[in-house]
Symmetry: D3
Subunit: 131 residues, 6 copies
């Protein structure tokens, strides 16, 4: 038994359809993917999640490509296959090359290693950090 | 009892001093911080870690500012205070504004939420992801 | 090659059978699932894990539904598919509706985001927290 | 150097003050704590975070006490001291007893152990999960 | 306000004292540390946790030093300062040298990096893994 | 669409082939597995990762079996299926028995639970830890 069933456009209530319409218009696509159709089982979750993603991922002080790459970095760190598929694809469409992906994951790797070492040796803050 | 004591330059063996010298030369600073002085208790760890950080953080297909911000994103996700102090500071010195930090953490937040939802609803891969 | 093979009741030693019997009696089912059959490769792990689960998940100051939902929340956060399948199913059988699941994952999401922000901004404890 | 400075009410712009006012009115308190004053360095982050927290933590299909306890469970799992201080306190004010906290953390513990065992033994889904 | 107050031996009920006595006898010490005195606010948590730790950490197919080092590895990965202090100390008392700690954290680091890369590139299982 | 395609030996450039040759020679095998063939899409990542793994996993103050088991412990904690398959297999080839795996995961479990309790109760450092 799957955890949940997707809510198809044809079966969706007006509140859900309005979100689907906004997703499709914003992204220039003609269907929404499983992520949105599954969380639509709880319409307030669908609405809040889409609004949060739409605002946070829109270009601002950081451009879209950088935002997609940070999304990939976080999802690689958390090991979420579904999100990695979507957002690696999105990042590639916006120009992420093999070199960029390699360097991105290298930074995620050394950052995580540094976190482990700082914890493992319980390294105290430097004096100039404590002012 | 602290977890470890820092290895000061004056007390360091030549292998450790060589790494300290390279850190200071690469970064244009005249002292190394606690992170390096503590992991120097195991010189091969110091050497390998520095070489990994130096290579991964050097500008390449991604610039230094972006790499520092990804480092901040990962460390915020992992909750490492020491690393956050160092790398937020480094990112700010390279131009990270309050807006950029706010947007960065917003992306980390929505990415993590998406990971949780994709897991929680056990969302299956879309058909076009499986080709 | 799978990581491990399940230990079937017919092939189990008396120590393992006693645990299987207790699981089936406690839960009113007539077979144990893969989780128990795989960890039975190390009988002390089977016994200790079952006793811990049985005690921690029994109704007490918190009822069974709430406990199942916390189990789902933790497993969504950790991304464990097997556990999500079992415990989402168990929570639904005890009355978890789509609304309750949606609200549960919403809380997991905002809590995790708050953790990231508190880390990312290195927010100091409020004065009244330090008394 | 701290990561960020708090934005005091007296120094806040109207957008930030409006959020502070809503936080204080919603919670019946006469000051906002450090969390909000620090993330106010990026007003859109303040606004979006508050709206998300306000919506997700409001009583609905789950009551406030349960939501606060799930917040505590997630923050204990992620190890966020600031959030644990705030939300353990909030949960206690809403009636969480020592027994309830003990049982909550016990469930977080056995859930996490189950996640580790399911991963470590790479336990396959049961047949009835795959229908 | 601290999250909880320690339960001193003088104030403890017989159930708690019995656990304290067993901890002191097992470890050959004449006082229990904060960890046990705080979780004693919920006596069943104290009892279950101690029994789990006592069984899991006892020498068996793996010796005590190795078990303490795995405890350090996990705690470094999770960033738990309290546990790192206790268990690094315990491991050192059982013979963990600077070289051993350095190598341990190096393995934790490369394992975590490999996890990130396997996720980030969504590397499929090798054919001989799927038999 | 897969996240990346494997780089076969026949199609690899000399830099990649040199790493493949070293992996096969070091491990006494006649093919490299998917992990290496996928990260070879970014040759510097391949080279750096292999050198890190080769150095960190070589026997030193800790033997190979212990290192493989720590790798399994970390991967179980992070939930990385690919890495668990490879390294559980490697650990078994070096002598890890069912008892050893069971005890290993038991320690990972109690360590993680202790981390959660130390966080959840915000247990202060003991006085003798602060000297």
């Amino acid at each position: 038994m799957p955890q949940s069933n997707p809510v198809r456009y044809a079966d969706a209530n007006p509140e859900v359809r309005a979100v689907y319409d906004d997703i499709m218009a914003t992204r220039g696509i003609d269907d929404v993917n499983n992520f949105w159709m599954h969380i639509a089982n709880h319409p307030p979750t669908l609405k809040r999640t889409w609004e949060g993603v739409k605002e946070a991922m829109a270009p601002g002080a950081l451009d879209s490509l950088m935002k997609e790459m940070v999304f990939v970095a976080v999802s690689a760190s958390n090991g979420c296959e579904y999100c990695l598929r979507c957002h690696t694809d999105a990042a590639r469409k916006q120009g992420m090359s093999d070199e960029m992906l390699g360097e991105l994951l290298a930074v995620v790797g050394v950052a995580t290693q540094s976190n482990i070492l700082a914890n493992g040796y319980q390294i105290p803050l430097d004096e100039d950090m404590m002012v």
